[in-house]
């Protein structure tokens, strides 16, 4: 029986959507990747710089093996993958059905520009008369109504901003390829009802909207409106909120009962913004604040008209759904706006700042290299960042912490310093600095001590500006720890705006019974960061709460794993791997190169001297001929090219055209229709070469084109189609470590149908979970563990080896051979294709100086175990002191273990629950209750837990005297000594990883400075090692909660399944080889290969390569002095020849 190929919809094509999609596509499943915006890449398209390198690394997410199935360029430019279909400007409307059989309804707004025809020449942009704020630059610059969706976009096709476009038709007239086609719009049929008790409002709105071609009716009260709706149907209603009798909100509810699809926009005065926002929760689409500009009204209406009228519905059958819409940022102008965002010049959001200083940003002064104020254009000397804007603030409806803003602001402050010099003063005002990652605390120290960023623990309540003295900048007032009130002026203030749920996803969730939490974020199931309340629907990335890049990527991979399990369970198959014909060996054939140039609908004689060009190329013996053709982008043009190739039978082709005709997919098509191997086709972007010679410099342009062509010709003439290398790949996994990360990754891989050997050095499975009782959320850990272990033990694809360690391992292309050593049973050799290092970690032991068990001094773990053993009784405790960061976050172990604060809160809440009279004191440095954990911090405070902040200079000291235990600390704020008599002291000692360097080393993995697993890239490849067959998860990777451990384990699992799914792995076209004859076996290439793709075969005395691991980076070729390490298709000979040709 030919089973169907598994297919998943990924809704949201930002970072997390792309991660999920690629993981599934690489595994061999089909993906439909959709996004509501007009370009993929999401938020990261707007960010040029990432922590900690201050560069971008988006491309590190691209496939590593069989990579020619996918585009291999910057993901901000776009993505092409054989297994991924991408639909932009598309919204997910509904989802029905069961896992393995879901029906999703999509709504796509068609573009007025045919992307296949658009050459990106930009003529339309020059004639477009409309200027609007460029959303990509966060409104800091202007753009036309016809524009490139993102400056990096690869497709290079223009798009039209429907809301701004006046449909003047100029672009349609000038487009040389006829790509712009305005669809006949029938706005007459779009019926709008305006409801307002004020006549003047009704009348003017009617007039404005009629001018745009819409049909408009009016009503002076809610009742009249309802009456009208009874007699005719409307598409849209604009209603005032405050009206006598029935108010707007009541009308909304009733109108929706009559017509569920009615688009409703609320109109409101300042005082009712809250009710307008409330109305949006009840189904209103948007709101307008009175008084409003007609343009704002029109653009809102036109946009909705497009989205709901022109958009086409589309129904797809899929197996699973991954929601990855991300989060939205808090918009100060719509809520509590005490910082005058949008009002005071120089108050910007973090994202705006990133745009301001991006490579093309308007904030850069190319002359002086200084940062310029976006409004005044004057150099910026003093900047401030204000944290927790719209987070940890009940007045803006956000009692949660947004988790990542602290790090973002540190990054931005460092960037400012790096880009504009140390003289630029930078200050971060914060409440708690939440550096909750293993390298974050160090980054903060770098910012503070090396870069000179000032950190002030104070909240600025508002900003003001002296309207008469705008040059004084923004005035801020804050109080320092010593109680001194300071007044300071800043040129630029960056607001670290917090997270808000993605509204579109929240609406979708509400309509499709997908559970959300108290704040409207998608809620995931216990111990999972991806499973939603509906089976088969997964949440990826930040949708369930803001995450940094690495956590988002991890969570999205975990979501992909979830989808993969669904598809496997539903019996779906993977896409068969094309065998790929072995290309003809051309080594002995004389190269015959056909050179074809496309005119792109223009007159070449005005741009090029074709005769000169022909004469120049004719002296190259390998040239078959130079052909000029037209409109390659059309069906007809394409056929002409194919016919030409069939007639002339060249064995190589050099093609000069616009970008869209020469991208990978088109060339692949050409290969299919002509049999000419795609790597024998060289392409040139004619449009951009010719752009270098504006005006009528025909001679220069001809020379330029000739030079470019000659380079391609030289590249091409030494080429031989290389059969793609394949390496047999072992399809079993080894998981080292039987904690929750190991268990989860083993189960996950096994659930996808692959065999797993799990080894555990101890006698029982469960790791740290064995000593835990409940999570801070009150979830029963033992029940969860029992269930997991039961599944593990009964899974037919899993073999468990307890009391077993790795004795040694050897690697060859496609396989590991690991020798296991059982405590009693001796050795056993396992062959496996991937390795997951889930060796876990432990709570660091108590330092002997602070510990004294007879005085009830514990680590957190010891305390919890003592409670369970009933060696201490919480009811009897009078005073408990918890000391956070004990022996950690200082020179000894300079990282934050992330989970100790949460654990302390959990224990504090537990103690208060057992005995509300127990005094609980938490001595902390920064309270790391990130994300929704903030609520437990608040709850602990509400229950009377007393928190003392201390700093490194005054660490708490414990003294023991005849039966008494006294903790001495220093209250940082009050600057006074504090002594607490305690009958129990609990130290949060942090996490120590348990990943032996020798073990990691054997598998080609590395450790970081703190002995955790070192990620291939901490942000974009957070569970991978540089060896593409080795992964890590759980505590050996980094400190994490149980949910986070499960998430990283699932991520490691899908990353492994990606490899395991292939019997044979296909390399990329560009891979390195070794010429054994000239190789001196110096092993320089082995040492330098960043991907661990090279091995010494000591039996045969040669270097062997795993072609799937090789990324064609060419480092080996660079270090090899004898030229024995060769990059296929990019040999020295070709390079030298290309130089000669360019100079000839």
């Amino acid at each position: 029986m030919n089973k169907a190929i598994g297919r998943t919809v990924v809704a949201g094509a930002g970072l997390s959507g792309i991660r999920s999609a690629l993981d599934l596509a690489e595994t061999g499943y089909k993906v439909l990747l959709i996004d509501t915006s007009d370009h993929i890449g999401g938020l990261l398209c707007q960010l040029d710089h990432q922590f900690p390198t201050s560069t971008c690394g988006y491309c590190r997410m691209l496939p590593m093996f069989d990579r020619d199935r996918s585009s291999q360029h910057c993901l901000r430019k776009g993505l092409v993958h054989e297994n991924i279909d991408i639909l932009l400007s598309t919204e997910l409307i509904s989802v029905e059905g069961e896992p393995g059989d879901l029906t999703v309804t999509l709504k796509q707004t068609p573009s007025l520009i045919d992307p296949d025809l658009c050459t990106g020449c930009g003529e339309c942009e020059t004639v477009c008369p409309v200027f609007v704020n460029d959303a990509f630059n966060e409104g800091l610059t202007k753009r036309k109504a016809i524009y490139l969706p993102s400056p990096q976009s690869f497709a290079n096709a223009y798009t039209i901003d429907y809301a701004a476009c006046t449909r003047c038709g100029e672009c349609e007239k000038i487009c040389p390829t006829g790509a712009v086609k305005f669809i006949e719009q029938d706005r007459e049929t779009f019926k709008i009802l305006v409801v307002d008790d004020e006549k003047i409002v009704r009348d003017s709105m009617k007039e404005w909207l009629k001018e745009e071609g819409f049909s408009v009716s009016t009503a002076d009260s809610g009742q009249t409106a309802l009456d009208l709706m009874g007699s005719q149907s409307f598409n849209m209603m604009l209603t005032d909120i405050k009206m006598p009798g029935m108010d707007g909100v009541a009308l909304l509810t009733k109108a929706k009962q009559i017509n569920e699809d009615l688009c409703v926009i609320m109109m409101t005065a300042y005082a009712e913004v809250d009710s307008a926002v409330g109305a949006m929760k009840q189904g209103a689409l948007d709101y307008l604040t009175k008084p409003f500009d007609p343009d704002v009204l029109i653009s809102m209406v036109v946009k909705i008209y497009h989205e709901f009228e022109i958009a086409e519905a589309r129904v797809e059958k899929v197996d699973a759904l991954i929601l990855s819409g991300g989060t939205q940022f808090f918009r100060p102008e719509l809520g509590k706006n005490s910082y005058g965002y949008g009002v005071l010049p120089g108050v910007i959001t973090g994202l705006e700042f990133e745009r301001l200083i991006s490579g093309t940003g308007p904030g850069l002064d190319p002359g002086s290299g200084r940062l310029l104020h976006p409004q005044t254009g004057k150099p910026v000397r003093k900047m401030a960042w204000i944290q927790c804007v719209g987070s940890r603030d009940v007045h803006s409806g956000a009692s949660f912490c947004s988790s990542v803003c602290c790090m973002i602001s540190i990054k931005e402050a460092i960037l400012a310093k790096e880009k504009f010099g140390r003289d630029l003063e930078t200050t971060i005002f914060y409440m708690d600095m939440r550096t909750i990652g293993k390298t974050f605390d160090g980054y903060r120290l770098t910012a503070q001590e090396e870069k000179g960023v000032r950190f002030v623990r104070a909240r600025i309540h508002s900003l003001s500006q002296d309207s008469q003295h705008a040059d004084k900048g923004l005035h801020a007032r804050y109080v320092d720890l010593g109680g001194i009130v300071h007044e300071e002026d800043f040129d630029l203030v960056v607001l670290a705006t917090g997270q808000r749920p993605n509204q579109q996803m929240a609406d979708l969730a509400a309509k499709n019974s997908i559970g959300t939490n108290a704040w409207g974020f998608i809620e995931t199931q216990p111990f999972s960061m991806t499973r939603t309340s509906r089976a088969g629907i997964l949440s990826g990335g930040s949708l369930s709460g803001l995450k940094d890049i690495s956590e988002s990527v991890t969570c999205s991979s975990a979501a992909a794993l979830g989808a993969c399990k669904v598809m496997h369970a539903a019996g779906k198959r993977r896409r068969p791997e094309s065998d790929g014909e072995i290309p003809v060996d051309l080594a002995r054939e004389t190269p015959r190169i056909l050179t074809v140039l496309c005119r792109c609908g223009s007159d070449f004689s005005k741009k090029l001297d074709v005769e000169v060009l022909e004469a120049g190329l004719a002296r190259i013996p390998e040239i078959e001929s130079l052909e000029i053709m037209d409109n390659l982008c059309t069906e007809e043009g394409w056929t002409t090219l194919i016919e030409m190739i069939e007639k002339k039978m060249p064995n190589r082709l050099v093609l000069g055209s616009c970008l869209s005709c020469s991208h990978k997919q088109k060339i692949k098509q050409l290969e299919t229709s002509t049999g000419l191997a795609s790597n024998l086709i060289e392409t040139m972007d004619m449009v951009s070469v010719l752009k270098r010679y504006p005006g009528s410099h025909i001679r220069e342009a001809t020379q330029g084109i000739e030079r470019e062509l000659k380079i391609l010709i030289s590249k091409s003439r030494f080429k031989n189609p290389v059969p793609m290398e394949r390496v047999a790949s072992n399809q079993a996994a080894l998981v080292i470590g039987g904690g929750i990360a190991g268990i989860t990754s083993a189960l996950s891989i096994a659930d996808c149908g692959y065999h797993v050997d799990l080894i555990e050095k101890g006698e029982s499975i469960g790791g740290n979970l064995l000593w835990m009782d409940k999570t801070v959320d009150g979830l029963d850990i033992q029940a969860y563990l029992d269930e997991c272990v039961k599944r593990l033990e009964s899974h037919e694809q899993i073999t468990i080896h307890k009391q077993t360690r790795v004795a040694s391992t050897a690697q060859r292309p496609g396989e590991f051979a690991t020798v296991l050593q059982h405590e009693d049973k001796g050795h056993q050799t396992l062959l496996h294709g991937v390795t997951i290092l889930a060796t876990g970690g432990n709570q660091a032991p108590l330092e002997p100086a602070v510990g004294d068990s007879q005085y009830n001094v514990f680590t957190q773990k010891e305390f919890e175990m003592a409670i369970q053993d009933q060696t201490i009784h919480p009811e009897q405790l009078n005073s408990v002191v918890m000391i956070q960061c004990s022996g950690t976050r200082d020179e000894r172990r300079n990282y934050c273990s992330r989970i100790c604060c949460i654990r302390a809160l959990k224990n504090a809440l537990f103690l208060k629950e057992k005995n509300s009279d127990t005094q609980v004191y938490i001595l902390y440095r920064d309270m790391m209750s990130y994300g929704f954990f903030e609520d437990y911090y608040t709850r602990a405070k509400t229950l009377g837990v007393i928190f003392f902040q201390y700093d490194l200079e005054n660490k708490p000291v414990t003294e023991f005297t005849d039966g008494h235990c006294l903790v001495k600390t220093h209250d940082l704020l009050l600057d006074m000594p504090v002594e607490i008599e305690a009958d129990c002291v609990i130290h949060a000692t942090g996490i120590l990883p348990d990943l032996p360097e020798a073990l990691a080393d054997q598998y080609g993995a590395a450790l970081d400075g703190f002995h955790f697993f070192k990620e291939a890239d901490s942000k974009f490849r957070p569970v991978d090692s540089m060896n593409y067959r080795v992964f890590s998860c759980g505590l050996s990777l980094k400190p994490c909660t149980i949910e986070e451990a499960v998430s990283s384990a699932e991520a490691a699992a899908i990353r492994a399944v990606r490899v395991l799914a292939h019997e044979r792995l296909v390399s990329g076209k560009t891979v390195a080889t070794t010429r054994t004859a000239t190789c001196s076996l110096c092993e320089m290439c082995v040492d330098t290969c960043p991907y661990g793709a090279r091995f010494v075969d000591s039996l045969e005395e040669k270097i062997v390569i795993d072609p799937a691991a090789c990324q064609g980076c060419g480092v080996c070729a660079a270090v090899c002095p004898s030229g024995s390490a060769v990059l296929e298709g990019l040999g020295s000979q070709q390079m030298l020849d290309a130089i000669d040709m360019a100079l000839s």
Binding site: V394, A458, R459, I460, H461, V479, G483, V485, G944, D971
Partner: protein, 181 residues
């Protein structure tokens, strides 16, 4: 200050302490307060003292008396704490305990309420006179003399005792006192 007073204060400020329980000492209140520069302890520090039971320190300062109920702190506190109300509770405690250093303001309020209790509505001249007498500070009235004369001349204050039966709200006041113990 004696231990007993401290204990009484602890009991009386229990509600205030609960009200600021979730304070994270971010300092927004202090930076927002128009009277900070006249306070010996800033609100940020005061909440901290309250949370750590340093009643003696709080009540040996006069900071909370300086609160002019502008509600900026309440408006801006990211934790949503009703700080102005908490300030009032501290004022109440100080007043009930008749702490010496708060005599001036306590008496001011007391005189005011006495006037209300008697007449239902307040008559500025009456309560001011009472207040000055209670302060037993013969010089103090002169500070207000100019304003007083001005008001008199505009006919805005009436030196004679006002309308309304004596003891108009006495029943209410007594009942409140009874309920509050």
């Amino acid at each position: 200050m004696g231990q007993t007073t401290n204990d009484r204060l602890l009991a009386m400020t229990e509600t205030a302490k609960e009200m600021v329980g979730t304070c994270i000492q971010c300092g927004t209140c202090t930076a927002s307060c128009p009277n900070t520069e006249f306070m010996d302890i800033t609100p940020r520090h005061m909440w901290r003292l309250l949370l750590t039971d340093h009643m003696d320190a709080i009540f040996s300062s006069k900071s909370f008396i300086m609160c002019s109920s502008c509600y900026y702190c309440t408006l801006r506190c990211p934790r949503g704490l009703e700080l102005t109300a908490a300030m009032s509770l501290l004022k109440q405690a100080a007043s009930k305990l008749e702490l010496k250093q708060f005599r001036r303001s306590s008496l001011f309020y007391k005189s005011f309420l006495d006037s209300v209790k008697k007449h239902g509505r307040v008559k500025e001249m009456e309560f001011m006179t009472q207040y000055f007498m209670a302060m037993k500070n013969p010089v103090l009235p002169f500070a207000y003399a100019v304003l007083g004369l001005k008001l008199l001349s505009k006919g805005k204050v009436h030196p004679e005792f006002p309308f309304g039966s004596k003891g108009k709200l006495t029943a209410l006041f007594n009942k409140v006192a009874e309920l509050e113990g």
